[in-house]
Symmetry: none
Subunit: 218 residues, 2 copies
DNA sequence: CCATAATTACGTGTTATCACGTATTTTTTT
DNA sequence: AAAAAAATACGTGATAACACGTAATTATGG
């Protein structure tokens, strides 16, 4: 069989080198491209059309999850595995929703990474043990519905939280509208409602609110 | 000249592989040992007596800073460079106090790591640009003198940092102008320069930058 | 004392934000 | 099925942000 072609997206040089070194020792896997910033991702994917993308979830200049969504929408055959530092329920959910086929941790043993790539390349899914465990626990309690909990504590709706995240990532109304496939006027409405609800009066304060309440990571 | 002997302390497999791969391409530097957990560190250092220790600041089963303190006390000739994921002021301060000779980030370019090792091995000190910048910003307000030592790090001016803080607090140009007793057009100029310097394109990203670099607290 | 950096300030124009609204459709809950 | 909540969308208008500039004063370091 031919080797699995992998494109690596991570802004951490050491991580990139580590993964490349690790994967190069596998003869069935070939790293055909490395991307260091969000804005170069789509171009690279379009060019290389890899079998698997290893996607860092937190890029300096963007959001790995949004990129994943884009990739999955555009190229159905390209499978994405998220690479994350921590086990965060929220991130896992959003990643899956975006279309990721796997979720592993940066301190996973090398065997796990290789297994994940092979599994995903052949159409399957793979999640790190810690992640599977969390998903199971979450499923058992209430079918993974953390939204309900947050609703009570903050009064924000899911959509509003989604928009806070995008706003905090520096997207303007038009780009958010584009992302969510709604009118920019709707985004404006959400924004107004959000500002009122969390009692802030501009984006700067909203970003701080989002960080404080762990809606986003920095 | 003989090679610089390095011992690597990090519990992340990918990071260890990355660094080793990177350093192996340098003929003046030799990785003579890798340690994955805190409790093995001292034994390894005692045995190998390396020139430089690359120390992950956050180990699963211990504290890289405490280990650094121990190493520096016991072996004056062994220099320690901290490896950190983020720019955290208190980590930097504690590391310096513990006796570290350098502080670099895991997403530093490879040249920086090599430069740091060589500099430190020859008795000097080395800090990543982002770290120097923070030290500058932080100590300039206090009585510190470190500002003068590494000032050429392409950083922000005092006024610009002041304005970032006010922007991040949610003040608009007019209020900042009022606060600082200058024209709002001047604030606009500062804002433009800041955005260009830190390479962000709106307030949301600027706030995150400020938090990341500890210019403000949340 | 001279060069450079820092701080100050303004002109002009485009685009985005924010603050009021109103209002329909869809989803969820009771 | 009815009520409530959430998500959708638009009108209008004032204000602010952002992107180009240019350019004159301070400080400050060599």
């Amino acid at each position: 069989m031919s080797a699995i072609n992998v494109v690596l997206v991570d802004d951490h040089q050491l991580i990139r080198m580590g993964i490349t070194a690790l994967l190069n020792s596998e003869k069935d896997i070939k790293v055909i491209g490395e991307v260091t910033s969000a804005k170069e991702v789509m171009k690279k994917i379009d060019e290389e059309l890899p079998n698997v993308v290893l996607m860092d979830i937190s890029l300096d200049d963007g959001d790995g999850i949004l990129l994943t969504k884009e990739i999955c929408k555009k190229h159905k055959a390209v499978k994405v595995i998220m690479l994350s530092m921590h086990v965060k329920e929220d991130f896992i959910q959003r990643s899956l929703k975006a279309g990721a086929s796997g979720y592993i941790l940066k301190d996973s043993p090398k065997e796990e990474l290789i297994k994940a790539i092979k599994e995903v390349a052949s159409g399957g899914k793979y999640f790190a043990d810690e992640v599977s465990q969390l998903m199971l626990a979450s499923y058992v309690t209430k079918a993974g519905d953390i939204a309900g909990k947050r609703k009570k504590s903050s009064g924000l709706t899911n959509r509003e939280i989604e928009i806070i995240r995008l706003l905090s990532d520096g997207l303007n109304n038009l780009k958010i509208a584009d992302e969510l496939d709604i009118s920019h006027r709707t985004v404006d409405t959400h924004r107004t409602n959000i500002m009122q609800k969390v009692k802030v009066k501009n984006v700067a304060e909203l970003v701080k609110y989002a960080i404080k309440n762990k809606l986003i990571e920095i």
